[in-house]
């Protein structure tokens, strides 16, 4: 094993000091004199024609500086990561409750608010489509001209699934459904924009996940030179996929352009829930066949996604649902089909776990059911079917990067919680009057990177300045995941310098290069490789500078540990600071660029499928079910991720711990309730997140496997731990009280009802 100074250790975050002192300036923390306050007029109906939109009274209100409608958009009136059909400001139709109709900028919040109330809108209501089932009916009104199917995907079948099922000894079939889930980042969408007329530059500060894409989307709507739009998206107070799409950016830029004054727009919590994207609600049907020997033979999956009114990134989400749906197991025959359907419900979008959380909830229950049919231990059963490196996946592509599912399962089997689970449950059951306890397990493979055929690259810049300060420039956004620290660790390790010397400039389209989006658990792998690439260019450059300084040929020198030294006399060295000073005095700054591109899979099913890298993970949950109230308490969760090499141990643990609680919320509490297009959950009093008193004790067992094409062997870990925690909890509930759930969230009311039904059948 290589011994590292920074890699694989617990390294304190480089941004923590500013965060614990309140000094970090988030985009919504920017205020200045004469800054205008903006508000957005949202639709008051979920589906309607706009007959009349009259902003004249609002424009006349003293203190109002601008009221904008679709007529004021110079360029394309739409945005969207994949297809830009989400209107910046609606023209003649609204399709969900979050649709924007007009923008107001005024001298203060109160005036802006009042101006909104003076805007007159006349609607002609249209029928409201809540579900894909309704949208697919023959006589359903069309939400978009092209029809109500937003996207459909059939992965080319592998073998003959019907034959595989027919030849199976045991076949099970079930349909699972999941709710819309809210990201609930603590910092809601917001920011500030300024228009510098002299330079022709519009600057937008806004929490996001990809400043360079925002830049293009803003430019497209303003019909502006993208190079004259500066977006600063970092840092932000949580994102989880919800800030990858446009929220306030275009609205802010428009208002800054028209008012020529600094403008601030910060969504309320209600606006964030109603207008912003959610985790898609989905229905997934599995048919799975198995032999009496416990080997899986065939899987047939059908997914129907409720995507809401517009596209954003719904296609790729659905695709990843399909890719994730078989799990990291071998099936000789398979078929995966899905459709994503427009409705007037909440907006479906990108969310950590990207299409996987919805399907793995069902799959991993199905696997437990199959194991139970044969009386097999759930981990043994998964081990029997798990894939290995070099195997052909359920989808038909070769797994050519590290595959650690077996290792995670084996490590799970060795944990005290799993090994001693019968005794643990017995002891707990004996001590509790009203509760029954259970232990459950579940696994997942989670794709890393955007997938084949999509531009999946990174550029970074490394500079060494006089005095030895090292600057790392990356377009990546710090959304809380700790990537800046990981980049600094990788650069410090590769250069052999102190991490304290490194300053990271991030997420600014004018000050950093395009490193791609911070989604898809991709940023460690791709930016790490770009950093290593930069260091590869940097070292010869440093030797060249030293050669110039010493006046000797470069091949007499070598680079190691932050210095260039004489091969013949290792004590004669030049430090980075000395090298930078020399370079500076000769007018050649030390600046190199590093790039990296994701290696892709051997197959291409279109639309980004399939992927080449996966995080593998197993999670175990211990729960207690109150048999009187139906309340489920999650007592303990152990996460066992295989993400290649862990760059920062605290970082990996932190990702797992946060993800587990997010998964717990999804499983037990969280639900964006929309009835007839109207939001019933509008804040944290009705959208229930776990508090510190509700969460389990946690343990993370890092299962390392070296991935040769990753930086220091790393892949990524951001999303995977949000996913199997749900079926692990559900399987644990089954272990405790013998009832299963096909629908999320699992409320106490539902638990009690199921337990009643079970008692009823047992009596009969």
């Amino acid at each position: 094993m290589t011994s590292y100074r920074y890699i694989g250790r617990r390294v304190p975050r480089i941004d923590a000091r500013d965060k614990v002192t309140g000094r970090t300036v988030y985009s919504t923390d920017r205020y200045s004199e004469n800054m205008l306050r903006a508000r957005v007029l949202r639709s008051s109906l979920p589906h309607a024609k706009i007959i009349r939109l009259d902003v004249s009274r609002a424009r006349e209100l003293p203190g109002v500086e601008a009221v904008l409608t679709h007529e004021d958009i110079p360029g394309h009136n739409g945005f969207g990561i994949v297809t830009p059909n989400w209107p910046v400001l609606c023209v003649d139709r609204v399709r969900y409750r979050g649709d924007a109709l007009a923008l107001v900028a005024a001298r203060d919040e109160e005036t802006a608010e009042e101006a909104l109330s003076l805007i007159e809108v006349e609607y002609e209501p249209l029928p409201i489509i809540e579900t894909p089932e309704e949208a697919l009916r023959e006589d359903a009104p069309l939400i978009h001209e092209g029809g109500n199917i937003q996207h459909s995907m059939d992965i080319p079948p592998k073998g003959d699934v019907e034959k595989g099922l027919a030849e199976s000894d045991i076949v099970i079939e079930e349909t699972y459904s999941t709710q819309f889930m809210e990201h609930a980042y603590l910092e809601t969408e917001g920011g500030v924009a300024i228009y510098d007329e002299e330079e022709g530059v519009i600057t937008v500060w806004c929490g996001d996940q990809y400043a360079f894409r925002d830049q293009l989307q803003i430019a497209r709507s303003l019909d502006w030179d993208p190079l004259k739009i500066r977006v600063i998206g970092s840092p932000t107070g949580g994102a989880f996929g919800g800030k990858d799409e446009i929220s306030v950016q275009i609205h802010l830029a428009l208002l800054a352009y028209y008012t020529k004054k600094p403008v601030r727009l910060h969504w309320s919590r209600e606006e964030s829930i109603v207008a912003g994207p959610k985790r898609h609600a989905m229905k997934t049907t599995f048919r799975i066949g198995m032999g009496n020997d416990g080997k899986l033979k065939a899987i047939d999956v059908k997914v129907v996604a409720n995507t809401g009114a517009y596209d954003t990134i719904a296609g790729p989400v659905l695709n990843l649902s399909l890719e994730s749906s078989p799990g990291p197991y071998k099936y000789p025959q398979s078929r995966f089909r899905g459709i994503s359907v427009y409705t007037n419900n909440a907006m479906g979008g990108e969310f950590r776990g990207f299409g996987a959380a919805q399907v793995v909830f069902g799959l991993e229950q199905e696997l437990d059911k199959l194991a139970e049919r044969l009386g097999m231990d759930p981990i043994e059963f998964r081990l029997l079917n798990a894939v290995e490196e070099g195997d052909i996946s359920a989808l038909g592509h070769r797994l050519q990067t590290s595959v650690g599912i077996k290792e995670t399962l084996e490590a799970a089997r060795k944990t005290d919680l799993w090994r001693d689970r019968e005794k643990i449950k017995r002891d707990l059951n004996a001590a509790a009057r009203y509760k029954k306890f259970g232990v459950g397990v579940a696994s997942e493979w989670h794709a890393v990177g955007l997938g084949v055929g999509l531009p999946d690259f990174s550029n970074i810049i490394v500079e060494i300045h006089e005095g030895g300060e090292i600057i790392l420039r990356t377009g990546a956004i710090e959304i809380g995941q700790g990537n800046l620290t990981a980049y600094a660790q990788m650069l410090a390790e590769a250069l052999g310098c102190d991490i304290e010397k490194i300053k990271v400039i991030h997420g600014d389209t004018f000050e950093s290069p395009d490193s791609g989006t911070v989604t898809a658990s991709r940023s460690i792998l791709i930016n790490g490789n770009a950093i290593l690439d930069a260091v590869k260019t940097l070292q010869p450059k440093l030797i060249e500078i030293a050669a110039d300084k010493f006046g000797i040929p470069g091949d007499e020198l070598e680079y190691s540990d932050g210095r260039v030294s004489f091969r013949s006399d290792p004590d004669r060295t030049l430090t980075l600071a000395e090298l930078a000073d020399h370079a500076g005095s000769s007018g050649v700054p030390i600046k190199v660029t590093g790039t990296a591109v994701f290696a892709t899979s051997d197959k291409d099913f279109g639309d980004g499928l399939p992927h080449n890298y996966y995080t593998y993970i197993t999670q175990i949950a211990l729960v207690g079910v109150d048999t009187g109230t139906g309340e489920v308490e999650v007592l303990k969760v152990i996460s066992l991720p295989e993400m290649g090499k862990a760059i920062n141990v605290d970082g990996v643990e932190g990702q797992c711990e946060g993800a587990v609680v997010m998964g717990q919320g999804y499983t037990l509490y969280e639900n964006v309730v929309v009835e007839k297009g109207e939001f019933k959950t509008t804040g944290f009093a009705t959208y229930i997140l776990p508090t510190a008193l509700d969460v389990p004790e946690q343990e993370t067992v890092i299962v390392e496997k070296f991935e040769k094409s990753g930086p220091f062997g790393a892949k990524g870990v951001g999303e995977a731990p949000t996913v199997p925690v749900t079926p692990a909890i559900v399987n644990a509930i089954y272990d405790a009280v013998r009832v299963r759930f096909k629908k999320l969230p699992i409320t106490p009311e539902a638990v009690l009802e199921k337990m009643r039904d079970l008692a009823g059948t047992e009596e009969r």
């Binding site: 009187g628 509490y669 009705t686 508090t691 009690l752």
Partner: protein, 281 residues
């Protein structure tokens, strides 16, 4: 938000101001309900009258076996009070479960009563403690038994010119027992889906008297008279408790909303009673 702010310097001044009959005026205590209602645009008052300086509305005292709470006493003060823990346990338990530490530090018992929400957590406890509420206006004071104070969902008998001054109730004696239990959607920051409070006098294992109140299961907090009658004179044997829970669920009249279903709430009202009683048995 747009309104004016006035601070009442004395009780007399406050009552004078209230007597002026300004309909746009609202009384501000802890603000944990009022400011949320204003933010949600449910109300838009022109003036807030801050009563937090009024000494007459503060303090927790016992005299002659009766306990007096000023209307401005916070949930946090009640939850941490030794005297109340000994002599008004259900109230201490209920206030200890309100919202979060931050909410408990600001939210007052007076505000909880005037809001008159069926899920107001202090209310079932005050029912079973047999509390009385003192209301004062420029023209005089009236004392109202707690059960006559509420008239419907978020409705109570207080007049716009009145201030809620204090709450009084008899201290629990050595033979008295009591509890408050609630179910919310999570363990903190949880509005009650259902709550049950009870005070009973137990002698030699027999229930001499009992009062039961149920929160969040009706338009106001409800008593459970049939269950009370059934339990009186009985010992707390398991089959008695089971029957009491069944009766209590029958007496509950919950509805379905975003937090829970009517049927679940009704059943849980009984279950919480049973769990409280089992601990005392």
């Amino acid at each position: 938000m747009k309104f004016n702010y006035r601070r009442a310097g004395s009780l007399k001044e406050a009552l004078e101001i209230l007597s002026e009959g300004d309909e746009s005026l609202k009384i501000l205590a802890g603000g944990t309900d009022l400011l949320v209602m204003i933010q949600d645009k449910l109300i838009s008052p022109g003036v807030l009258l801050d009563i937090n300086g009024l000494e007459e509305l503060k303090g927790i005292e016992e005299s002659n076996g009766r306990i007096r709470l000023g209307a401005l006493v916070s949930h946090g003060q009640i939850a941490a009070d030794k005297l109340l823990r000994e002599k008004a346990l259900p109230l201490v338990e209920s206030c200890g479960e309100v919202g979060s530490p931050q909410i408990r530090n600001r939210g007052t018992i007076g505000g909880n009563l005037v809001m008159a929400s069926p899920s107001g957590d202090s209310i079932p406890a005050l029912y079973v403690l047999g509390a009385e509420v003192s209301l004062k206006s420029r023209d005089g004071e009236r004392v109202i038994p707690i059960e006559d104070f509420f008239t419907g969902v978020k409705k109570c008998v207080i007049r716009p010119d009145e201030l809620l001054i204090s709450i009084t109730f008899p201290a629990l004696g050595p033979d008295d027992r009591g509890f408050f239990k609630k179910l919310g959607q999570r363990k903190a920051l949880a509005i009650s889906k259902v709550s049950t409070a009870a005070v009973l006098t137990l002698r030699a294992g027999v229930v001499v008297s009992i009062r039961i109140a149920l929160g969040a299961v009706g338009t106001t907090v409800l008593r459970a008279p049939r269950t009370e009658a059934f339990l009186t004179g009985k010992s707390l044997a398991p089959e008695v408790i089971t029957e009491a829970a069944r009766l209590c669920a029958e007496e509950s009249r919950a509805i379905t909303d975003i937090r829970s279903t009517g049927a679940y709430r009704d059943e849980m009202a009984g279950l919480l009673l049973a769990r409280g009683l089992e601990k005392l048995a």
